[in-house]
């Protein structure tokens, strides 16, 4: 780069000389000197101090050789010619130096302005970042853009204890103890390793580590930039840590309250059937009841046990939903199959309840997890059966409506409370707070959770003429085209 600058300076001086050569006799000496000085200014502007000085010396030589009599000789006979040549040299040197300084200063100002803008952008992006990971990625972008840095990382906690090469524990320690920027050899000879301690908060020491080109690493401006950036990043990190801590506290609090509600529900809804079971078992042990009475007590015992099983299933489903660890085992399948299978289970439990089924023809296949949709349908059907008179019919209707397939489960019961039907979907919420109908009020919350996991919805409405209607709404995706499966088979 610099050699080329000197070469350009040389070429410019030679070109000027060649241009002036035909005018050798006619051109006034002072004019020729001015033209040379102009050339030096140009070189100073374009190529900086070194080439300018080089150009000044060269111009003085050429001037003395070609224009100062005797022509084509460096021997200067008269004192005034010598003075002219010397003045020309001094002027050229001075002008060249000044021009080059000016240029360097301008460049520095521009560079500083660029950095200020970059820092401003950094600060703005950091304000918008919400997590430490985001802060890290914003910082990475900034350092890569401004300092051409590579391998940029923000190390914290355990990463500081187990540093990867070229980092060492000692380096990190001294950076953190010294609380100032530290540089060392990078993984590549052209790069220096920079360590900037970020004292985000007393108990979470962090270190910003990056590798930047050696040429940049030496400059004081780079250090200043890194230090300023580090302080901006520190503030952002501190803020995001605070947000994280707040979020964790909130989560812990809501988990705590969930646990309390579950415990309260369990103590009520589990104790009731358990009390009945203990009583029945004791009564049976006494053996004083008639055979017929014993039989009915045994079937009550069984019913209570199944109720507890249902409760446990719901609690487990809820725990799965709340922990956010639902893995959908989704497959394209017709909805009628899972409806048929669910109805079989429901009919086995409520033998004498009439359930009418009306499924539209030519429904598209849907993508869902059959086990979860079975749980949704079971919960909705169980509700419909429990909350409506035993002599009324429960209706199950399936229709395609726009981009949805709706499974509607309707009853002829008292219907939903007109206000706050949305409340029903909360956990441990029931239409009536205390009622003789067993259950904890988890069914709808689970149904909604599972439906939403599929990108679907559960809607509740009252039907005309009384009764409630719950609607499981599943999206129709774009099912894959099936090849002609018969073709190509032996």
């Amino acid at each position: 780069m610099s050699v080329r600058n000197y070469l350009s300076a040389l070429l410019l001086s030679l070109a000027l000389t060649l241009c002036l050569l035909p005018l050798q006799g006619d051109l006034d000496l002072s004019n020729a000197a001015l033209l040379y000085v102009l050339a030096v200014v140009i070189v100073g502007c374009r190529y900086g101090r070194g080439p300018a000085i080089f150009s000044a010396l060269l111009s003085a030589l050429l001037y003395a050789h070609i224009f100062v009599p005797p022509l084509f000789s460096l021997a200067i006979t008269e004192a005034q010619y010598l003075l002219a040549a010397l003045v020309m040299l001094v002027v050229a040197l001075l002008v060249g130096h000044l021009t080059a300084s000016l240029k360097a200063q301008t460049e520095q100002v521009l560079a500083r302005e660029r950095q200020t803008r970059a820092l401003y952008d950094l600060a703005r992006s950091l304000t918008a970042s919400l997590s430490p990971a985001e802060v890290e990625s914003v910082s990475q972008r900034f350092l890569a853009n401004t300092l051409r840095a590579i391998n940029i990382r923000i190390l914290r906690d355990e990463e500081i204890l187990l540093p990867a090469a070229p980092l060492t524990k000692a380096l990190l320690q001294s950076a953190m103890v010294g609380r100032h920027l530290l540089s060392s050899t990078g993984s590549h000879p052209a790069y220096s390793l920079m360590l900037v301690p970020l004292m985000a908060s007393a108990n979470t020491p962090c270190v910003l580590v990056c590798e930047i080109p050696v040429a940049l690493a030496g400059q004081p401006m780079t250090r200043a930039l890194l230090e300023t950036a580090a302080s901006v990043i520190t503030v952002a990190l501190e803020r995001t840590y605070a947000v994280e801590v707040a979020r964790e506290t909130e989560l812990r609090r809501s988990t705590e309250s969930l646990r309390n509600t579950i415990l309260a529900a369990l103590s009520h809804d589990l104790r009731t059937p358990l009390t009945v079971m203990v009583g029945l078992a004791d009564a049976l042990t006494l053996g004083k009841a008639s055979v017929e009475r014993e039989r009915s007590m045994l079937s009550a015992l069984r019913a209570q046990a199944l109720a507890i099983n249902q409760l446990v299933t719901n609690l487990l489903d809820m725990a799965r939903l709340r922990s956010g660890s639902i893995e959908l085992n989704e497959e394209w399948q017709p909805i009628d199959e899972v409806i048929g299978a669910t109805l079989q289970l429901v009919r086995a439990q409520w033998r004498d309840r009439e359930i009418s089924v009306d499924i539209a023809a030519n429904l598209p296949p849907l993508r869902f997890d059959a086990v979860l949709v079975e749980r949704v349908l079971w919960n909705l059907l169980e509700n419909a059966i429990k909350y409506s008179p035993t002599d009324t019919q429960v209706e199950l209707i399936v229709r395609q409506i726009g981009i949805w397939v709706d499974v509607m489960i309707c009853d002829w019961g008292p219907g939903l409370p007109t206000v706050g039907s949305e409340e029903l979907f909360g956990m441990f919420k029931r239409g009536q707070a205390e009622s003789c109908i067993p259950g904890v009020g988890l069914g709808l919350a689970i149904a909604r959770g599972f439906a939403e996991a599929h990108g679907g919805q559960i809607l509740a409405e009252n039907r005309l003429g009384g009764g409630a209607c719950f609607r499981l709404r599943l999206p129709i995706g774009s099912p894959p085209n099936l090849d002609d499966l018969e073709g190509g088979l032996p």
Binding site: E337, A341, L485
Partner: protein, 229 residues
Amino acid sequence: MSLSQSILLIEDDQQIREFVASTLEAEGYSLIKAASAAQGAVEAGASKPDLLILDLGLPDRDGIDFIRDYRAWSATPILILSARSREASKVAALDAGADDYLTKPFGVSELLARVRALLRRRLLTQEQASPLISFGDYQIDCVRRVVTCKAELMHLTQIEYRLLIVLASNPGRVLTHRQLLLQVWGGRALENHQYLRVYVGHLRQKIEANPAQPQHILTEIGVGYRFQP
């Protein structure tokens, strides 16, 4: 007949072990009890039972591993007992070679029905297999490759016929989606459960009186299908 039939029960929970054992003994089966997989393996080798009832959640060994090892040398039917909401492990156990499953809690009638079905099937397979399979009003002639309903010829496609044969020759047994895909389509379509669902739908349309509430091809949600003759 049932006097001579022995059942090996491997279950670590004592209460369940006693309840299942007393139920089955009352029905005239002879019971061998084991509380761990290791003990179960020894008993299985020593007494060669007619049926194995295995709890999937044993403390000393993964039940699926146990099934694989056992299947290496024995074709004795296996009935697994598993907890709810563990479809994946049920499917894995069935794929490994188990024949049927019961989800806890289960009732006596369910248990007895499964045990009877598995033992009956064992007898059937020990007898000379017949090329004629009958269920309901239907008869399948595996030699002539035709299906008749009340002596009337039915039109089934190649795939439908194959699917029906696989299902009908395993009456009462749960076949997983994977097993069916493998047996009907070969290895090509293992991931494509939709094929299976489409063809089960077609087959139900043809052989079920009410395809929405099937009597023969029953859905085991999240697991597979069971054929009920």
